[in-house]
């Protein structure tokens, strides 16, 4: 059998021969295609690219100007240079002496969220959402996507709700992902080891519960880290899935250390939100 966590040497050799890694540079070609493509999304992308660059340059210039004007020696030097050019700086508003231009920080904004009412309009089944959550978790993001395994066929709607600790930064990994769909899971199943599955009962229906998470063994090539994951029971992730009234429900809790009982309690608390 193939040794674990390693590309087969024969295929690596053939791949390297036909497309040597040192000759692969996709970014310049992708950039070129972005500029030449007339598609609406591409135009949006270009617009965003230039808008981002413009905002960044403007912010840097404002920041530099603010720093220069805030330092007395720098201000005096600038004044001297301007006077040598035959001009004099005047202060039209004495009250603003020493004021420094404020610079808006660039922030990463979360993707647009929907209200539960908007979701219900796009979801042709009775929407049930958790009414009990542990700690100070609150609804952070909600949307509906069309879940499909094939781009050419219409999918079924899939509701995704995300709960995060109130006020936590975006890069805080602690969160709960709650999904409801008909048929397929939203975008495919989570990969969990069968040996860790625990049969549970949720709202009178059979369900599956798993506790723990994948941990990198740190031995792999950084570019193939996902091929080097080891299951770790001690990680604070938990997963619960069950079917109810023809719909598939799935809860994944990350780094919250939730117990089986707490996960089932969340599941049991699902109600119409209004």
């Amino acid at each position: 059998m193939k040794s674990k966590n390693q590309s087969h040497w024969i295929l690596k050799e053939i791949a390297e021969e036909s497309a040597p890694r040192t000759t692969i540079n996709q970014w310049s070609q992708i950039e070129a295609r972005l500029v030449s493509s007339p598609g609406e999304n591409r135009l949006k992308m270009i617009a965003r690219l230039y808008t981002s660059a413009y905002i960044l340059v403007t912010a840097v210039l404002i920041l530099l100007a603010a720093i220069v004007l805030a330092v007395p020696q720098a201000r005096a030097s600038i004044k001297e240079v301007i006077q040598r050019m035959g001009m004099e700086l005047v202060q039209p508003n004495p009250d603003s002496e020493g004021a420094v231009a404020s610079v808006e920080p660039i922030r990463i904004t979360p993707p647009p969220s929907m209200t539960l009412e908007e979701i219900q309009k796009q979801f042709p089944y009775k929407l049930l959402v958790p009414t009990w959550l542990p700690g100070d978790l609150s609804l952070f993001h909600a949307d509906v996507i069309q879940s499909t395994s094939d781009e050419n066929t219409p999918g079924s709607p899939c509701v995704r709700l995300s709960y995060r600790p109130t006020g936590a930064p975006l890069d805080d990994p602690r969160h709960i992902s709650f999904k409801v769909s008909l048929g397929e899971e939203c975008g495919g199943p989570f990969l969990l080891p069968a040996t860790k599955e625990q049969a549970v009962e949720v709202n009178g229906q059979p369900g599956s519960f798993v506790q723990g998470g994948w941990r990198s063994d740190g031995k792999g090539d950084p570019e193939t880290t996902y091929a080097h994951l080891q299951w770790d029971d001690s990680l604070g992730d938990a997963y619960l899935a069950w079917e109810q009234e023809g719909l598939n429900y799935f809860i994944a809790a990350f780094e919250l250390g939730l117990t089986r009982e707490e996960m089932i309690r969340i599941a049991k608390s699902i109600r119409e939100p209004w």
């Binding site: 059998m1 193939k2 040794s3 590309s7 087969h8 040497w9 024969i10 295929l11 690596k12 050799e13 053939i14 791949a15 390297e16 021969e17 036909s18 497309a19 890694r21 692969i24 996709q26 970014w27 070609q29 992708i30 295609r33 972005l34 493509s37 999304n41 591409r42 949006k44 992308m45 965003r48 690219l49 981002s52 990463i108 904004t109 395994s149 995704r160 890069d171 969160h175 992902s177 048929g183 397929e184 899971e185 975008g187 495919g188 199943p189 989570f190 990969l191 969990l192 080891p193 069968a194 599955e197 369900g207 599956s208 570019e223 996902y226 997963y239 079917e243 598939n248 429900y249 799935f250």
Partner: protein, 185 residues
């Protein structure tokens, strides 16, 4: 930059996130597509298109899941489609199952590189020939498991072949490859 941050940046429309992802995955994506299509230029085109679609579809991507399998799935599926189209044009039949199992057997049995240069070269040529005879789907199954090194469960996930609630994908490699092949067909 961290991959999660790159995805988050891309979701806000920041192009630097896409650049990070391109730099991280371009090599294995192009090489995998090349193994399936047998055509470097086509492989490059497939991967570029997949990255552009990544930007367009990133809003639908669940950041709780790893990016790599999601992205490679697009690349592999596109490579299969492109190769199938190409094969129809030159009227070649799909590879026989016997060829497929021969390739698997050979890969399973030659886990170590021979020290002898000639023997090594012969092995590579033999495998290249055998891969050429496989159908695009068969080649994709081999590439998913033996080159991209996706576990059998991850490879199954590439095909979205598990409806219903959680399905538990664990089986021996050959059974899974057989299932993958069926799903591709």
């Amino acid at each position: 930059m961290d991959e999660t941050k790159a995805v988050a940046q891309l979701k806000t429309g920041d192009i630097t996130g896409l650049r990070t992802l391109v730099e991280r995955y371009q090599v294995e994506a192009v090489q995998a597509a090349c193994l399936i299509t047998g055509d470097r230029a086509e492989a490059e085109d497939i991967v570029q298109t997949a990255f552009l679609r990544t930007f367009e579809k990133i809003a639908r991507f669940d950041e709780a899941r790893p990016f790599r399998p999601w992205f490679l799935r697009m690349v592999v599926n596109d490579a299969i489609k492109a190769t199938t189209r190409q094969r129809r044009q030159i009227s070649l039949e799909d590879g026989e199952d016997a060829d497929y199992w021969a390739v698997l057997k050979r890969l399973d049995m030659t886990t170590r590189e021979p020290e002898d240069f000639v023997q090594r070269k012969e092995l590579l040529e033999e495998m290249q020939g055998a891969l050429d005879r496989l159908s695009p789907a068969q080649r994709a199954a081999v590439v998913l498991h033996y080159f991209l090194d996706l576990s059998t469960a991850e490879a199954a996930n590439q095909l979205n072949c598990a409806p219903g609630t959680l399905r538990w994908h664990l089986s021996v490699a050959r059974e899974r490859l057989r299932a993958l092949l069926t799903a591709f067909k």
